[in-house]
């Protein structure tokens, strides 16, 4: 009778990688629902396209690499990547944009680096930046929130728009983009950026309908969507899927930067609340920057990593060429992760410093 031989520990926590990823996906649902509510079915269609592309790409590549793709697919990491990319893309962007982006994320950014756990960059964000640089027009055509749009659109419209560029009634994307005031809508961040450059003050700018929400200065849609993701993020924190370090330090850094600058000149620099709840800051802080593979792995490192992302976001938003900056900031900090990790090693029990104890070693 042969006894089983295994290494301790013999017990294992009942949460594997797949479960972690599923929890993250679950936590995204409130945000996605709100996004769909405000921007129509386009978001769902994009997610569907991205997920299918991601799974097919991952399976094909794993098959080529002669890996067990069934098991790898069960970890849901490709699905999560696809979802994160899909919600960052304008809902009515042509279908090929999201397909190319997802393929790039899975094939180039993730698998060519060696698969899950080996990728240096956050796949979703790397793909987003690639798309933004390659297809700037398609990637910036955000629709007005449905309640502000001149023409309403249903699921079939969205489907048609994504695949043909026109809704069922034949409205073009440009028409769909038109707001109730007849003006083409831009995102709150764009709006502020352009109107500030046109000489309007910040307080004048936020009088516009797009900011017609409970708290002045918040884009209607984006504040609600941010709230949705915030709920999901807090759920992840509670489930200990993510640590508090990165979201907290990132939001705090952005908040402080914005606070300082708006105190300097509140006409030119939007408030901290504006910065936190517009654009993709919340989803970035809880879902993107916390991507375990490409983030820092030590607690101190995570704080540095998060804070640096917050600062970068602010810098790029205020002085950079792009209205939003999460993707760039995350990618920049991804590159710094090995360095951060190396210098933020925790002090081991019984050691007086984090430095290597060469003396101790010599003695032993």
């Amino acid at each position: 009778m042969k006894f089983r031989l295994a290494s301790s520990p013999h017990q294992h926590i009942r949460r594997d990688t797949g479960q972690v990823m599923r929890l993250v996906i679950l936590a995204m649902i409130p945000g996605v629902l709100l996004q769909t509510w405000f921007f129509g079915w386009g978001t769902v269609i994009q997610i569907g396209l991205a997920v299918v592309t991601a799974v097919v790409t991952e399976a094909a590549i794993l098959e080529l690499r002669k890996r067990d793709f069934e098991r790898a697919l069960k970890d849901y990491s490709a699905v999560l990547t696809a979802m994160l990319l899909a919600v960052s893309i304008p809902p009515f962007a042509p279908w090929w944009v999201v397909v190319i982006g997802t393929f790039f994320a899975i094939c180039i950014v993730k698998q060519l680096y060696g698969g899950l756990g080996f990728n240096v960059f956050n796949p979703a964000m790397a793909a987003y930046v690639m798309l933004l640089v390659s297809f700037p027009v398609q990637m910036t055509q955000w629709l007005p929130p449905v309640n502000l749009a001149q023409y309403s659109h249903n699921f079939m419209d969205a489907l048609q728009a994504v695949f043909t560029g026109f809704s069922v009634e034949g409205f073009s994307l440009a028409q769909l983009k038109t707001g109730i005031d007849g003006v083409t809508m831009a995102t709150p961040l764009d709006t502020v950026k352009t109107s500030l450059s046109q000489g309007f003050t910040y307080s004048e700018t936020i009088e516009r309908p797009i900011f017609d929400s409970v708290i002045p200065g918040l884009g209607v849609a984006s504040s609600w969507i941010s709230l949705g993701y915030l709920i999901g993020g807090l759920y992840l924190l509670k489930q200990k899927v993510i640590n508090w370090h990165i979201p907290t330090s990132m939001l705090a850094a952005l908040f402080i930067c914005a606070l300082i600058m708006s105190l300097v000149d509140s006409d030119l620099y939007p408030s901290s609340i504006f910065h936190l709840f517009n654009g993709s800051i919340i989803i970035g802080a809880f879902f993107i920057a916390t991507d375990p593979v490409s983030a820092s792995t030590t607690n101190k490192g995570r704080i540095i990593f998060g804070a640096a992302i917050g600062i970068w976001v602010y810098l790029i938003r205020e002085w950079g060429g792009y209205p939003d900056a999460i993707a760039f900031a995350v990618l920049i900090m991804n590159m710094a992760v090995p360095l951060i990790d190396y210098y933020t090693r925790p002090r081991t029990y019984g050691h007086t410093s984090t430095k290597r104890k060469t003396k101790n070693k010599a003695q032993s």
Partner: protein, 744 residues
């Protein structure tokens, strides 16, 4: 000390504790086995008592095969302080002393005493030490040692050594945490035998004199806490600390951190921070040993897991095979795909190799889980989630350790403090990719140990080699020194002689040199003398003033015939010769003989190397030729013709001489000088003879001409042969002179 005693006490008084980083909360599953009192395991037929069950050295066996032993009889003995004896767990006969599978992860066979029980369980004479407080410490320690007590919680460190510290003890910590899931042996022991544990603590206090006793019990064992509180009620120095349940709070370092916030330095001992820790089981064993004289021959073992139908705690004799415990608890292997028995808990325990593995002093649990209770082997790629780092109680970075261990970058793994890992398994427990992290660390650690051992070996070898080298070098030095001294002594002894000899040689050399120089000078002076003589002669001759002026510089050159000035001399000679030639041409045009001679002079000047020689020659010749001229005022028409023919032949000769190597100019010059001298002498002679015999006038040039071809030949040949040639020439000249003499 960073956390001083009073601060710690103050915090403890406020019922506050510290925390350690990380930690996990695995399902406890303790109720499986802690609901019933500790049962008694029947005496097995055969017991396998492993000789070495602790950290340290093993004793010598003092029993033989076939020998009858009584319960509690020592089987080994040693004078080594790190040796702890083993005892016969029951009465019976020693059936064998041989290697038997061991209670170790490797399962490697170890020396084991096999005892067949006679089922009478007859005790040996026991010697309790009830009045231990009036006994010297050493005697109490000896009693603990002789009872074979070693740490019963973890590694099995000899208790008597831990109980005789050299420094003051702030805290004696009694570890009743039992943080591993499933295990309840300490829990039940505390519940049922709190008083005896307390007595054991008393003994330890007598030995250690700690300022404070902290009894740490996890708050998931309220009954145990209560029992211990009751037992320790009247002693305010005994403090029961209810520690929050978190794995691995029972780790030595973690418990110290939780209770005192002190940290055992890396590679240090708890004693370094004024702390001694003992397990509750050890305290019980001490009390047994001191108050009833019983050695450590049985312990409480939790037999649990869903694959046993009657999980419980049992008093098991040390040496009972696992199979015996399992059988008693109704182990059902059908609930497992493959037989799977773990000795220890699910976090740090190890699989037994087979069911013949015996219970040893540190065995606290036999776990037979069903397949659903344990993790399957489903390793996936690390996703860098660092859940492991969050769980590590030692603040390591398990993920980095894993990368480096797996990649066999042992140096880097050590950089990340691999050896501070306590192998608690918290990291592997939380890893969502189910990587058996601890397994990788164990492999890396053993590889490093092997490497270090090898290094030590090679270091030793190198040391030996270096020592040998050093010795050889030292010997060589000594030898050399000896030789040197001897040589010096010899030298000194020979000092006078040797010196004289050397001096003599030097003197001889010096003299030789001086002589040479003198000779040179003499030669030179002789040359100049000869020249002067010539000059005098020439001056005596009318029409020769210009020629004399021309020859004088050359004479000067010759007399100051320094090597360095050779070139200058040559140049000067050239000039002078040129001058002489022109002047000669001017002045002596009328005399055809003179013209020939001058041509010859010119030619000779052309060949640089031969300048001096030829000049002297020409001089001589001119002397030769001129001499007759004034002498014989009536020149014969034939003579100039013959002379001209001579000069032609001479011109060709000089030309060929030019071809001859000019580098031998110096030798040639010297030779020439010598020749010149001789020729001068000869000339003088001939002159004399011609003077004496005017009839020899015609003959004279002939003798010259006969001399000349010889010379040209000699010039054509290597300069070396010049001397010979000169000698020949001399001889010929002599002959000629003789002839002339004769003819005259």
């Amino acid at each position: 000390m960073p956390n001083n005693y009073d601060d710690i006490i103050e915090k403890l008084d406020n019922n506050q504790l510290w925390d350690f980083p990380g930690g996990v909360f695995p399902a406890e599953r303790k109720t499986l086995s802690n609901q019933t009192p500790i049962g008694k395991l029947p005496i097995p037929e055969r017991l396998f008592v492993t000789v070495k069950q602790h950290i340290g050295v093993e004793g010598h066996l003092i029993v033989e095969v076939g020998q009858k032993v009584l319960k509690g009889q020592a089987l080994t003995k040693s004078m080594n302080p790190f040796a702890v004896p083993i005892h016969a767990p029951t009465s019976g006969e020693v059936a064998a002393i041989q290697k038997h599978v061991s209670a170790h992860p490797s399962g490697l066979p170890e020396m084991t005493v096999e005892i067949i029980s006679d089922q009478q369980d007859k005790w040996i004479q026991l010697n309790p030490l009830i009045d231990y407080q009036s006994q010297p410490k050493i005697k109490v320690l000896a009693a603990i040692c002789d009872a074979g007590i070693s740490g019963m919680g973890g590694a099995g460190f000899p208790t008597h050594i831990k109980s005789s510290p050299k420094k003051d003890v702030d805290f004696l910590i009694i570890n009743g945490i039992e943080c591993e899931p499933y295990i309840t042996s300490d829990d039940r022991l505390m519940r049922e035998h709190a008083w005896q544990i307390r007595q054991g603590i008393d003994v330890l206090c007598h030995l250690l004199k700690p300022k404070q006793v902290l009894i740490g019990i996890e708050n998931n064992k309220p009954e145990a806490i209560e029992a211990m509180q009751v037992a320790c009620r009247e002693n305010p120095n005994y403090r029961i600390c209810s520690v929050p349940t978190k794995y691995p709070a029972g780790g030595e370092k973690q418990l110290i951190q939780v209770l005192t916030n002190r940290e055992v330095p890396a590679k240090g001992l708890p004693m370094d921070v004024g702390i001694i820790m003992h397990n509750v089981g050890t305290c019980f064993a001490i009390s047994d040993a001191v108050f009833s004289g019983k050695p450590l021959i049985s312990r409480v073992v939790t037999v649990t897991g869903e694959a046993v139908e009657k999980p419980s705690n049992l008093w098991a004799l040390i040496g009972s095979p696992v199979a015996h415990l399992l059988a008693h608890s109704d182990y059902n292997p059908k609930l497992q795909k493959q037989p799977n028995v773990i000795m220890g808990g699910p976090m740090m325990g190890f699989n037994v190799i087979n069911d013949k593995v015996p219970v040893i002093k540190t065995t606290n649990c036999i776990l037979a889980p069903t397949d659903t209770e344990i993790s399957s082997n489903n390793e996936q790629a690390c996703i860098r989630c660092s859940a492991c780092a969050d769980a590590c109680p030692v603040s390591l970075l398990p993920q980095q350790l894993f990368w480096h261990s797996k990649a066999k970058e042992l140096d880097k793994a050590q950089d990340y403090n691999l050896f501070d890992c306590i192998e608690c398994g918290a990291c592997a427990y939380v890893c969502p990719s189910e990587i058996p992290l601890v397994h990788y660390y164990r492999i890396a650690k053993s590889e490093i140990r092997v490497e270090q051992e090898e290094k030590q070996k090679s270091d030793k070898a190198r040391e030996r080699f270096e020592k040998r080298e050093a010795r050889l070098i030292a010997e060589q030095h000594a030898r050399d020194e000896k030789h040197r001294l001897a040589a010096e002594a010899r030298k000194q002894a020979m000092e006078s002689k040797g010196n004289n000899a050397k001096d003599k040689i030097a003197a001889a050399l010096a003299r030789a040199k001086a002589k040479k120089q003198a000779v040179n000078i003499e030669e030179e002076t002789s040359v100049s003398k000869a020249d002067l003589a010539n000059d005098v002669i020439e001056a005596a001759a009318p029409n020769e003033t210009t020629e004399a002026s021309a020859t004088q510089p050359t004479t000067k050159v010759a007399s100051s015939n320094q090597r360095v000035q050779a070139a200058i001399a040559r140049a000067k000679a050239k000039k002078a010769a040129a001058e002489a030639a022109t002047s000669n041409v001017e002045v002596e045009v009328p005399s055809e003989v003179e013209v020939e001679v001058e041509v010859e002079v010119e030619k000779n000047n052309d060949k640089v190397s031969e300048s001096i020689k030829t000049e002297t020659q020409s001089k001589n010749q001119s002397v030769n030729a001129k001499e007759p001229a004034p002498h014989a005022a009536k020149p014969e028409p034939l003579k100039p013709e013959s002379a001209s023919s001579e000069s032609v032949s001479e011109v060709t000769a000089t030309k060929t001489a030019t071809i001859a190597a000019s580098k031998k100019a110096r030798i040639a010059a010297a030779v020439a000088k010598a020749k010149a001298k001789r020729e001068a002498q000869k000339a003088a002679e001939t002159e004399q003879t011609s003077k004496e015999a005017p009839l020899a006038e015609v003959e004279d040039p002939k003798t010259d001409s006969s001399q000349e071809p010889v010379k040209t030949q000699e010039q054509q040949i290597d300069m070396k042969k010049r001397k010979i040639a000169a000698a020949v020439a001399k001889a010929k000249a002599k002959k000629a002179a003789e002839k002339a003499d004769k003819s005259s």
